[in-house]
Structure formats: C-alpha cells, structure tokens
C-alpha cells in the first residue's frame, strides 16, 4: 500500500501545507497539539475537503482539487478511530461493532466479529451500552468497530488522549497485538513519544501545519535538530533489542542489541521477546576511562562519530556503539574538558532506572 498526501488547507489563521508518502505498517503523524494533525487525518478520511492538493491510495485518486475529485468518506473504506470514541449511544456494543454491516458486506462476518472481539477482549461487553463502558473499554470497542468495517487503512486520531496512564498502557498492548495480527496499514496520530516509539515504523513529523521530517522511527527520534521543530520531544536513541535474561531477585532484565547489552528495571516482557528502548540523550553521560565503583549499571564502549556544533551551552554527541548510534547530551564545557573529538573511544554511561519502558 502507498498513501500519498499533498494538500493545502486554510482554517481561519491556520495554514496546513503538508505532503508525505507512507506505506505498510504503522505510520505516525507526530507533532505537538495544534500542529494540524487532525485536520490532515480528517482530509485523508474524507470528512474534510481541503482547499488544494491531491490524496492518492495505490494510484487511485481519493481527492484531487484540480480534477474536482472528492471520494466521500463512506466510499474510501478507511477505518477511523476518533479521539473521543464516538460510539453510538443508543446502540449496544454489539450493534456498534456490526453497524457497518448494514452498508458493507463482508465475506465471513460472524468469524470476523468473533476474531476481533477475541483480540480486543470485549466479549463481556457485547450487550452493554456505551454509557456503561469505561474510557478504555469504549476505545477498544471503537477500534473493533472500525476494523469490522473491513478497512483498507486504519486511521487512529490520538485514541489514547482521553485515557489515564494505566488504561493507555492497556490499549497500547492491544494496538501492538493488532499491528502484528491484523495486517492493515495504520496511520496513527499522536503527540506522545512513548506511543510513537512503541507502535510506529515510519514517523511523519508535523510542526505548525508543515511536514518537518519523514523517516524511520529510529532516525527521526535520534535527530536532535528536529527537537526544536517538533517542540515536543527531546532527542534520544531508539534501540530494538531482545530480552535475553531476567533477574527476578533484583527485578531486572538484560536486553541484547546490535552493539552490546543493557540492563533495565522491571520490564513487563518475557525472555526472547522483542522490545524497543528509548534512551534520552540527556540520560547518557560520557567517560574517557571505564569507571570504577559506580552505581551506573550500563557502561557501553563506543567511538564518537559526531559532535554537534550548537553554539549554546549544550552539545549533542553521537557515539557509535556497534551498529547503534547513541546520542548523548552534555555541556559544551564537558566537551572541552574531556577534549572530545570524532574518532575518540569513550564509555557511554546510562542509569538503568532512566530507561523508558517500551
């Protein structure tokens, strides 16, 4: 699947002028609130008609201002999970889930329903009304409802925004499961680094109505220069790793990656499972000698590949650790005191407790 979007739209004083192309897997539209993400996704869904531009799915024009093409939302076959769920209050959960059946025919509707209901764990809720659901349950039903319409593409607009941290984590687990089980391309709108790192493979960074960058999640999250553009996340490194050992006594896990291993705290994953770890650049210290008698659990040996030229007091240093480029954020004075330079062998120090759990 290839979705290409190029559009211009004005709402009051706000101008959206964005163009990007994305493919299979999970694409995150990532950026701060008010950047124009929802406008963009509404245009993709067909709920909003942009002033100018073109939206194309696998060569088929869904919208073309020049040729006056605007395929209505109902014919685009895009599933849409809204921030606030938008379940139909007068219908039961089961009726909400099967609503699209009135208008679209599926091949094996009952099997589909059973499968999705099982995946999302909403079997107990089928006869309830939306008013009797918690926020997390409601969003699971909304996701199921969108999936049961047999969409070509699934759009999720900040589906976790109205949930508390615990519920958010629960839905994230379901979304990970869906990503791996249901092979539908997903466009995921979010302003949360955690969600994007956990779910997305491609990131489209949106800032003040424009596309600031497009790339792999590891690349985008690692580029410190994008921090200012996005204004929402600080630079860091995303590492794909595998759980290789667990220490039950100390509630620690050991992760192996291309370049070494990491010790992290109470990870909610089994041995052999793949996990993604994000290391914030400011949590990485640099030492010239292997430190002795120190509480830091992760000491990685690497070679400096790049030193930022920022004129402020803060400098971003890239360290090649195996195949991974680790970002470290230190003061400019520290760079001078240690005489850091590209090619120098250093030790990167990371506290185990500073690692984000993904």
């Amino acid at each position: 699947m290839t979705l290409s979007v190029a559009l211009k739209h004005e709402v009051g004083a706000f101008r959206l002028d964005a163009a990007f192309t994305c493919g299979d897997g999970v694409t995150a539209l990532f950026g701060p609130s008010g950047a124009g993400k929802t406008t963009l996704v509404n245009a993709i869904a067909g709920l909003l008609r942009p002033d100018q531009g073109r939206i194309e799915l696998d060569g088929e024009a869904l919208f073309d201002a020049g040729k006056k093409i605007h395929i209505p939302a109902r014919e685009r076959r895009f599933g849409y999970v809204f921030q606030e769920g938008r379940l139909f209050p007068h219908l039961t959960v089961r009726q909400n889930l099967t609503y699209s059946r009135w208008f679209r025919s599926g091949a094996r509707p009952q099997a589909d329903l059973d499968h999705i209901v099982g995946l999302l764990g909403i079997g107990e809720l089928l006869e309830r009304r939306p008013a009797q659901l918690s926020g997390g349950e409601g969003q699971r039903v909304a996701i199921g409802r969108a999936l049961l319409a047999r969409p070509r593409l699934l759009l999720l607009d900040e589906p976790l925004a109205s949930l508390d941290a615990h519920r958010r984590n629960e839905i994230l687990q379901y979304l990970e499961l869906l990503r791996d089980e249901v092979k539908i391309p997903v466009v995921y709108v979010s302003h949360s680094v955690e969600e994007v790192v956990r779910l997305a493979s491609t990131v489209v960074l949106i800032a003040s109505g424009k596309v600031a960058a497009v790339g792999e999640v590891e690349e985008i999250m690692g580029r410190p220069d994008l921090r200012a553009a996005a204004g929402v996340f600080e630079g860091g490194t995303v590492i794909d790793a595998r759980v290789v050992a667990q220490d039950i006594q100390y509630d620690l896990a050991t992760l192996a990656f291309d370049g070494g291993s990491l010790t992290v705290t109470n990870l909610d994953a089994l041995i052999g499972e793949s996990v993604r770890v994000r290391i914030r650049a400011r949590d990485v210290s640099i030492a010239l000698d292997a430190p002795q008698r120190i509480s830091i659990q992760n000491v990685l040996r690497g070679k400096i590949s790049n030193i930022g030229t920022d004129s402020s007091g803060i400098v971003d240093v890239s360290i090649a650790v195996g195949a991974v480029t680790l970002r470290s954020r230190i003061t400019r004075r520290a760079v001078q005191q240690l005489a850091l330079a590209p090619g120098l062998e250093v030790y990167a120090l990371i506290k185990a407790v500073s690692l984000d759990r993904h």
């Binding site: 067909g46 609503y99 009135w102």
Partner: protein, 234 residues
C-alpha cells in the same frame, strides 16, 4: 355515562388532533432538521415565520387559512378542481390545528436534534453510511424523545385549538365541532351550563391523559435510546 353526542364530539376531536399531528410531523421534522443543522441565508426569517402562529391571534391565522384555502382562495380553488374541499370540513379543522401546533412541534424536535453531536454522523459515514442512512440510523433514533415530545405537545394543542378552527371551518356539529367549540356553543345556549361543565370535565381528563401518556412515552424512549433515564427534571 357519556351521551352519544358527547362521544361524537370527543371522537371528532381525537380524529382531528391525530390527523393534524400525523400530517404535519414529517414536514415539522424536515424543518427542524433544516433549522438545527442547516446554514443558509434567510434562516432567521424562516424561524420567525414558523413561530408566527405562536404569537399571532389565532383568529388571524384562521382568517388567513380561509382566504388561502377557502372555495374562492387561490389554493382552495386548485384543490377543489381535484376534488378536495377543506373549508367547513373536519380536514380543514385538522389543517388549522396543524398550523397552530407546528411551532411547538418544530421547537421540541429542533432542540433534541441540536443536542446530538454531528460528529456521530461523521463517524457513521466513515463506516459506510450515506448522509440519509446516518440520519435514519443515528440522528432520528437519538432525537426520538424530542420528536415524541413535539408530536404530543402539538396533539394537546390541537385538542384545545379554538380561534383558528372556528374562523376557518366554522362550528358545525358532527363535522367541525371539536370539544372547545362544543363547549363554546353550549355556553351560548340558555340552560347549557350543566352540559358545558360536563364537557369541561371531559376536556380536563383528556388533556391530563395526553400529558401523562406523553411523559410515559418520552421516558420509555429515553430508556430505549440511551439505556438509562436521561430526562432531568428542570
């Protein structure tokens, strides 16, 4: 208990009220939808015209209807050519009642439609529904309590309608003489006080009954629509 004349009067009143509501309901729903969701030039004017029967003296409304739909009226003449006569018929009484009850009906429906989030209809469209399908599966069921309230308000208004009816279709026993008109006729008749009082009592019972039924239906609709009793007591 009731005399056959009284039964006839009540049956006629109910018939007139029922048909006035039944005939005007689809139009009222369309107008309510237009006012709630539409955005067009002249919306305020349409709104004002709809509300006119509420503020005009009923006799004025009745007289307009007579001029328009009477045998010599522009519309009445046309209708007569295809064999429909409404002047001085019970159908005319139903039209008078429908016009008088129309603003009440539109108002209740409009309020309930405005309370429905249009985003739900957008959600229905992403699931494959056309605008019309979304209206019938989402908007209308959610607006049902308001539609019922409007219909019953208009029904109750029709049972009490006097001025426009007597002006438009006169006071013909058995044809256009509804309950209020019959009471009026009796009070104008020497020795009719006792009979008038009996009809007044019947009128109270009928109106009270209509209000109770309305309350019950709206509550039930709310339960069915939302799964709980959503009618707050203001």
């Amino acid at each position: 208990m009731m005399s056959s004349a009284e039964v006839e009067i009540i049956a006629l009143s109910l018939k007139v009220a029922f048909w006035s509501v039944a005939a005007s309901l689809p139009l009222a729903l369309a107008v309510a939808l237009l006012l709630a969701r539409g955005n067009f030039p002249g919306k305020s004017l349409l709104d004002a015209v709809i509300h006119l029967p509420l503020v005009l003296p009923p006799v004025v409304v009745g007289y307009f209807l007579l001029l328009l739909l009477g045998a010599r009226g522009p519309l009445g003449g046309l209708l007569e050519q295809i064999g429909i006569v409404v002047a001085f018929r019970w159908t005319g009484a139903a039209i008078a009642c429908a016009v008088m009850g129309f603003p009440l009906m539109v108002r209740a429906m409009r309020l309930s439609i405005e309370a429905i989030d249009p985003k739900l209809e957008a959600a229905a469209e992403t699931l494959g529904a056309t605008r019309i399908e979304a209206f019938f599966t989402i908007t209308l069921p959610l607006a049902l309590p308001g539609v019922l309230t409007g219909a019953l308000l208009s029904f109750a208004r029709s049972l009490g309608e006097f001025g426009a009816t007597i002006t438009f279709v006169s006071n013909i026993p058995g044809e256009t003489q509804t309950l209020p008109l019959a009471i009026y006729a009796l009070t104008q008749t020497p020795g009719g006080d006792a009979a008038a009082l009996r009809l007044c009592a019947l009128s109270v019972i009928l109106s009270l009954g209509a209000l109770l039924v309305s309350e019950f239906l709206v509550k039930r609709a709310n339960r069915r629509v939302l799964g709980y009793d959503a009618v707050g007591r203001a």
